[in-house]
Every structure is written in C-alpha cells, then in structure tokens.
C-alpha cells in the first residue's frame, strides 16, 4: 500500500495521457449533480444534455486524436479504490477506440434525448406512460461516465466497479419508466442478469489475479495462467461479458430491458453498452490471457453463430419496434463474436495478418452497429413520439407523414441489412474475407466448422434483410393501421439532427471504410501484432484490399460513383425520350379495388413473418399460427394468433425460477415453528457438532 498516496512513476506523462477523459468524467459527475440539484428548473434538461453532448464530443475527439497520433498509453494511479493498489487508469489504442465509439454514441444520444424529452414533456408524450416518468437526467451522464470508466480501467477492481456501476445506472435509467406495467419485471431481470455476469467476471479476475498475485492488468499480463485456469477464465468471460452483450442463451433480459428505457437510453444500451461487453472480451481474451488456444476461438464462433441466427429469428418474431431492434442487436453481437473467434483462431495458429483481418472486421462492425443501431432506436423514439405506439400493427404509411425520418430510417435499415455501398456491408465483406481464409488453418474441425459458421453468417445476414424489410415496410410503407399513425407528424429538429449524424456516417463509412480501419489499426496491432493492411500490394487509399484476401478488393467509392453514373443517365434518358406521364389512381390489387378504411387487408407484421416462421420457427420456437376463420356470411374479420416460446426461457430460466421458488417455500416453514422446535434445532446443532468433535478426535 506504498502507492496509496503517491502517484506512479510516469505520473506526469500518465496524467497528460489520461487527463482529458478524467476531467470529462468529473464533468459528467458534475452534470449528474446538476441534474439532481436543479431538477425543477426549466433549463435543466438543456444544460445536462447539452453538457453531456459537449463532454462526450470532447472525449471522442481526444480519443480520435490519440488514435491518429498513436500517442503512448501511460498508466495513472489514483489514490482510490483498493487501498494497497489504488485505481489504475490507462488509455491504450483499444481503450481509445472504444472510447471513441462510446462517446460518439453519447453525443448523438444526448442530442436526440434533448429533443425527445422535450417532445415527451410537451403533450405528445402523454398516452404512453412517459407522462410521469422517473428521473433520467442525473443517471444519463453517470451511465456514460460508467462506460468510459470501464474502458479506462487498468486494474481488476476499478474495472469491475465501473462495470457494475454501468449496469446500476442503466438499471436506474430503465426504471425511469417504472409506471409502465412491464418495466419492473424487465428491470429486475436485467439487474440480476447483469450482476450474475459481474459475478462471473469477478471469479475470472480472481483466477487471473491469483496467478499474478496482483489485481493490476500489467501484473496479470506478465503472468499467463495455467492452461486449466485459462480455460476456466475463457468460460467465465463468455458467461460474464456474454450476459451483458446478449449472447444466447443469456440474452433474455435484453429484449425486455432495452426497450423499456427511454429511446435515447435504449440506443445507448443497445448500440454502445453491448460494445463495452465486447471490449471486455477483447481485453481479456486477446490482451490479458496471453497466448490463445485454438478452441477458444472455436467456442466463440459456435456461440456467436447460434446467437446470430437465433437473434435475427427472435427479431423476426417481434411486433414491438424497439423489441425487434433489441433482438437484432443480439444478432449483430453474434456476428461480432464470430469475428472475434476467427481472430483468436488465426492468432492461435500464428497467422497474425489474417487474425488482424478478422479483428478489423469485428471492430469495424462494432463501429457500424453502434451507428445504425443508435440511428434505428432514435427512429423508434421518433415513431413513439409521433404516434405514441411501438406496436408495428398500429403503424404504417409514415413515409408520407414523417418524410425526413423515413429517409433516415431507410438508410439505417439498408445499412443494417448489409447492402452496398453502406457501412454494414463493408463489415460483412471483411468477415467473409476472413472466413475464406479457413483453409490456412491446421485443424480440420475448424476448416469445416468455419464453413458452417460462414453459412450461418450468410443466413443471419439474409434474415436480417428480411427483418428490416418487414420493419420498414410495415412501419413506414403501406397505409396507416391506426388513427395515431394517420395523424402522425414529423419530429423536431433536435431529434432529426440526432438521427441525421449517424445516418450520414453510415454512408460515409460505407464509401470510405479505410479511414476508420486505419484509425483502429493501432488497437488491432496491439492485440494481434499485425495490421490488416501489412505489406499490401498496389491499392491507393480508397481501396479496401486486405493482404490476406488474395487479390480481393472492394471499393465503395467507385461503386457509389458507378451507381450514380448508371442511374442518373438512365433516369434522364427515360424521362426525356420515353415517357414521363403519371396518372394517379386507386391501388388495383387484383381487382380488390376499394382500399378498406381500416387497412386490415394489408399484410400485418405477423403475417409478413409467416413464411419464415413456417420455415424456421416451428422447430426452434415451436411456433404455432392459429387462424380463426368466421363462418361464410359472418362479417367478423378473420384473426391470426401466433404463439411461440423462447427455448432459453423454456429450458433454462423458468426452471431456475421455479426451483428457487420451490426451495423458498420449503425454507419458509422455518419462520413458523414453535420455540420448542427452535430449541430442538439448536440442541441438534450442538449435539451434532459435539458428536463430530468426538468422531474427529477418535
């Protein structure tokens, strides 16, 4: 405990290195205080959100410069936390990259949230429970601070404190809607799952620290654990970080908790907090745990593949917009984890360049998903603000009433469906390039297994496209399914701006992906001792041509240019020389002329999913469609009801819950005994222990 009060050798340089985020953290805490102190003041929302946006912007910029400038990462020790080691903070490439992601998400979320809360406060909000909500302002900056702190932590204790603090604050944010019926159940499940995850991480770090004899990451790096211990750590990390990231089957809390929060918080939880979990995996598996073994990657890939496919199938089953988005987060996390697994495998087989490719795919997808998932959750928030409903079956035709939102939503949907030339596709492309390198691996099981994983990724991608065609088609296209949807109006400027920024970036990153890849190259280099573009042959900077992908290259910019070069003349030519006449009329629909006012004849969300439900759901979810068809001549509409069960609940969580209840009932008897029985208990305890002593001695 020598260095409790003294600062570590590099103190000064270290302080320079981490001082910006430190000050930022303090500022965030200050903002939280303001949020509490001035909660009645009319200006408080603007101050807190504005302040948070500014602080996050500063940190994001700082992280960006740190990455670009390849600035060294010094450790700074604060006299806090565990007495005899203090709190260690450090911002290396990896941390800086994730700091960039997190805080950028923070900027857009605060921007959107500012407008969102004002809209909620102003009349619009009433009707869907946000009317009298609990406090958001104090916890919003704290949540962001917690996430940044996780990324900066450089010893096990600080890491876990900030990790659990992150869960705690987000739990409180979820509870801000505590007046709504489902919230309390969701929040409870969330906090319990989160803490169970933390417990797993706790054990993992306990194991690592016992090897090193110290909780500092440096010490842990120095002492690689034994094979058995390492295996256990991998398992515990998969459980601990996985429960936060939403790996199947630990995902159950996610579709409940993420939607329950206010939309801008949902965006943070889904788009950003899950990434912090990914950071934890990378930090431990690539950095702290030393030389990997191939099966670690194998395990990650299997879990990831299952998660990806299951996640998107869940998403296809959902009728609630935000819940659907949360499920799609599960899918994307699965994809990222697959990429991580590949990177581990290749690192283990000493082909660092390919490992770098896979890791780049993972990190790029981290960026991409944080962008379009925030965007889509903002869109959900906009829809909620405009219509007061999150139920797909009460939406429709919004493209006419919310033109701006509709365009941005389309970008988001296209990006998350991995359509070129948007950013989602680049990530998938890199991932496939890595998958195609499977033959370079020694293990046969992996060669074949990776092919299957590739198929799973492709399946997930295609299903995701279906999922978002469904979302966009039902919500924005067609005819309104409820008066609220018919009467909706475009949202305010702040919210539009909040959506605009990530939307634009989705396009930019799709066209010029190399920029961001170069940005996190130092992080990749630190993890796998190689960069994705090492000794590349001929490409100028706009070409995405990783070494390992032999002769394969992709160029979003040229593709965009080509599309423009082809489509614009096409339009002009046709309109000039062919015809440009338009006649408006009622939809024909195979003679089904008069569009019914209730728009019930439209495909509903559940009917759209029906073919896929029939193809996959039967086996996975034992989903059952029941159609109540009225008698001929009866004018009642036919009703389609869909029932399906989540295997994770059916086979894992419900049994646990009932087991606890059963035990609790048995134990509860002890509360209602007579004094004599209690004395008997005591007496028995005494006699047993005495007998034990007698036995032990003889």
């Amino acid at each position: 405990m020598g260095n409790i009060l003294t600062i570590s050798p590099h103190a000064f340089r270290g302080f320079v290195a981490v001082t910006v985020p430190l000050v930022a953290l303090l500022a965030l805490f200050a903002l939280a205080v303001v949020g509490v102190a001035a909660r009645r003041a009319p200006w408080v929302g603007s101050v807190v959100y504005g302040g948070t946006a500014t602080v996050c912007a500063v940190v994001a910029l700082w992280a960006g410069f740190a990455l670009a400038g390849r600035s060294g990462a010094e450790t700074i020790t604060l006299p806090m936390g565990l007495p005899w080691i203090g709190a260690h903070l450090r911002a290396d490439g990896l941390s800086a990259f994730f700091l960039l992601v997190v805080n950028f998400g923070g900027v857009t979320a605060s921007l959107f949230g500012w407008g969102y809360e004002r809209a909620q406060a102003g009349g619009h909000g009433s009707g869907h429970g946000h009317g009298d909500s609990g406090p958001v302002l104090p916890f919003f900056p704290l949540f962001l601070a917690g996430m940044s702190l996780v990324l900066l932590a450089d010893d096990a204790f600080t890491f876990l404190v900030s990790w659990e603090f992150m869960s705690l604050t987000s739990w409180l944010l979820v509870l801000s809607t505590h007046r709504e019926p489902d919230t309390s159940e969701a929040a409870r499940l969330y906090l319990i799952m989160a803490s169970a995850g933390t417990a797993c991480l706790l054990l993992a770090f306990g194991l690592l620290a016992s090897g090193a004899g110290d909780y500092q990451f440096d010490a842990i790096r120095q002492h690689a654990p034994t094979a058995g211990a390492a295996a256990m750590v991998v398992l515990l990390i998969l459980l601990g970080a996985g429960s936060k990231a939403g790996l199947v089957p630990l995902h159950v809390w996610l579709p409940l908790a993420h939607p329950a929060a206010p939309s801008h918080v949902s965006a943070l939880m889904s788009g950003v907090m899950t990434k912090v979990a990914i950071y934890a995996m990378v930090r431990v598996l690539f950095d702290l745990l030393g030389e990997p073994v191939w099966w670690w990657g194998g395990a990650l890939m299997i879990v990831g593949a299952v998660t990806a496919v299951m996640g998107v199938l869940y998403a296809l089953m959902q009728d609630d917009v935000k819940r659907l988005l949360a499920c799609s987060t599960i899918e994307n996390i699965g994809v990222i984890v697959i990429a991580l697994g590949l990177a581990l495998v290749f690192k283990a087989s000493h082909t660092p360049v390919i490992a770098a490719l896979a890791l780049s795919a993972a990190l790029l997808h981290v960026v991409n998903h944080s962008l379009f998932k925030s965007l889509l959750f903002f869109v959900a928030g906009a829809i909620l603000t405009a219509t007061g409903s999150r139920d797909l079956n009460r939406l429709g035709g919004l493209i006419h009433r919310m033109p701006v939102t509709a365009v941005l939503a389309l970008i988001g949907a296209a990006a998350i469906s991995a359509l070129p030339p948007l950013n989602g596709f680049v990530g998938e492309w890199l991932l496939f390039q890595a998958i195609l390198n499977a033959p370079a691996l020694p293990e046969w099981s992996l060669k074949i297994g990776i092919a299957v994983v590739g198929a799973a990724v492709a399946l997930a991608a295609a299903l995701a496209a279906a999922c978002f065609v469904r979302l966009y088609g039902i919500a924005f296209l067609g005819r309104p399914r409820s008066p609220e949807a018919a009467g909706a109006g475009e949202v305010g400027v702040a919210m539009q701006a909040g959506m605009m920024i990530p939307a634009v970036l989705c396009v930019v990153l799709g066209v010029l992906p190399t920029f961001v890849i170069r940005l996190f190259e130092p992080a990749v280099r630190a993890m796998v001792e190689a960069g994705p573009f090492d000794d590349r042959s001929y490409q100028p900077w706009i070409w995405l041509a990783p070494t390992s992908a032999i002769g394969n290259s992709y160029n979003g910019l040229i593709m965009l240019a080509a599309i423009a070069a082809l489509s614009i003349p096409l339009v002009l030519v046709i309109h000039r020389w062919a015809s440009d006449k338009v006649r408006w009329s009622i939809a024909w629909g195979c003679g089904h002329v008069e569009p019914d006012p209730t728009a019930l004849s439209q495909y509903s969300a559940s009917s759209f999913a029906q073919p896929i439900r029939r193809a996959f759901g039967g086996t996975v979810f034992n989903a059952q469609d029941r159609v109540e068809m009225p008698e001929p001549g009866d004018t009642r509409p036919a009703r389609l009801t869909v029932r399906w069960t989540d295997p994770a609940w059916a086979y894992l969580f419900t049994p646990i819950r009932s087991a606890v209840n059963w035990l609790a009932d048995r134990a509860d008897v002890l509360q209602f005994l007579t004094i004599r029985s209690y004395l008997t208990l005591m007496f028995t305890a005494l006699v047993v222990v005495l007998a034990l002593v007698a036995v032990v001695r003889s």
Binding site: F672, T680, F683, V687, L690, A691, A694, R697
Partner: protein, 220 residues
C-alpha cells in the same frame, strides 16, 4: 484406602444428575418444583463440600446463594405463581416420557464420551464433575424441549444453570466472578420470567406455549 472427599463429591454430583433425570420424568408441576428444590439442595451441598474439601471459602458463598435462590426463593415463587394463575397442575410432555428417558441416557453417554478422554491430566474429581455437569446441562436442554408448559421450561432453564454451577464449583479455584455472574443472571432471569409469566397470563390467559406461539410473525 477410600478417598472420602472424592466419594462425597461424586455422590453429590451424581445426585444432581439423578434429579435432572427425575425432572425429565415428572408430570405434575408441583412435584417438578420439589425435584428441582432437591437438585438445588444437592448442588449447594456439592459446592459446600468443595469449599470444605479444597478449602476455598468463596465456594461457601456459592453454596449459600444456590441454597437461598434456587432451593428456596425460586421454588416458592413458582408455587405462588402457579397458584395465583390457576395453571392446570399436570402437563403432558411433548415427547413421550420413555423417549425422553432414552434420549437422556444417550446424552449422558455422549457427554462422558466427550469429557473423559480429553481430561487425562485433570484430577479425577474434575473429570467426573465435568462429565456430570455436561450431562445436566444437556438434560436441562432436553427438558426445555420436551415440555410445553412455560413453568417447566423455566425449570429446565434453571437446571441448565445448575449444571453450569456444578461445573464451576468442580473446577478448582474458579474465581468468584463467575458465580456472581451466574447468581446475578439467575436473579435477573427470574425477575424477567416473573414479568413474563404475568404478562403472558394477562395476554393469553394460559401458560401453554402452543397458545402463546399462535403468533409466529407474519401470520396476518
């Protein structure tokens, strides 16, 4: 030759143990109290004999305290209470007498098994005495378990403390502080019991624990 000191002490200790068996056996409250009085007498006798044999005058105080409190004051007071409160004079034990006896015997065996091997270097008297007192303590506990009536539970508690005193006097040179503390505690304990018996009486119109324990917390 015969060590008269040892024999006498042994005899008195055995008498205490015997009486606690008798306590287990009793069905009627008054006879219970009488047996308890006998036990207290035996105990004070043991204490006095120790004081004489080992010439430890402070043990006389113990003897007197025991005699005064346990052999006279408490039984009398309990008699009073029972008469004042018109408690039904017989109480059916919760455990069958026979079962209780068996349990008691096995407890005594256990305590002997426990004590004798571990006290090789202590004097024979101490060992005997310790074994006896341990048995008395355990039997007292058994009695508290096997009786439903508040009075008999009080008596059981008292006999546990008798066992403690027996142990204390058995060990050579035990400082006075312990006896004082015991006496003090017994006294306070008795006062409190008294308070309780009256309160319980005025609350529940009975001393049958089953009625008192109808409330077990949360049974709303």
């Amino acid at each position: 030759m015969i060590d008269i000191g040892y024999d006498a002490a042994h005899l008195l200790g055995a008498l205490v143990l015997l009486t606690s068996f008798a306590l287990l056996y009793q069905r009627r409250l008054f006879s219970l109290l009488n047996v308890f009085t006998v036990q207290a007498l035996a105990l004070s006798g043991a204490a006095a004999w120790q004081a004489y044999a080992h010439d430890e005058p402070h043990l006389y105080i113990t003897a007197i305290l025991t005699l005064g409190l346990k052999a006279i004051a408490i039984p009398v007071a309990l008699h009073r209470i029972i008469q004042r409160l018109h408690i039904e004079r017989t109480v059916e034990p919760a455990l069958g007498i026979g079962l209780t006896m068996v349990a008691g015997v096995s407890l005594v065996t256990l305590s002997i098994l426990l004590v004798l091997p571990v006290t090789e270097n202590a004097t024979a008297l101490t060992r005997e005495d310790l074994a006896l007192s341990l048995s008395v303590v355990l039997l007292g506990l058994l009695m508290m378990i096997s009786r439903r009536n508040a009075v008999s539970q009080v008596v059981g508690f008292m006999s546990i403390e008798n066992g403690l005193i027996l142990a204390a006097v058995g060990v050579a040179g035990m400082p006075l502080v312990v006896e004082m503390s015991i006496a003090f505690s017994v006294m306070v304990a008795f006062i409190i019991f008294g308070i309780f018996l009256f309160q319980i009486r005025e609350r529940f119109e009975t001393l049958d624990m089953r009625k008192i324990e109808s409330f077990r917390g949360e049974s709303d």
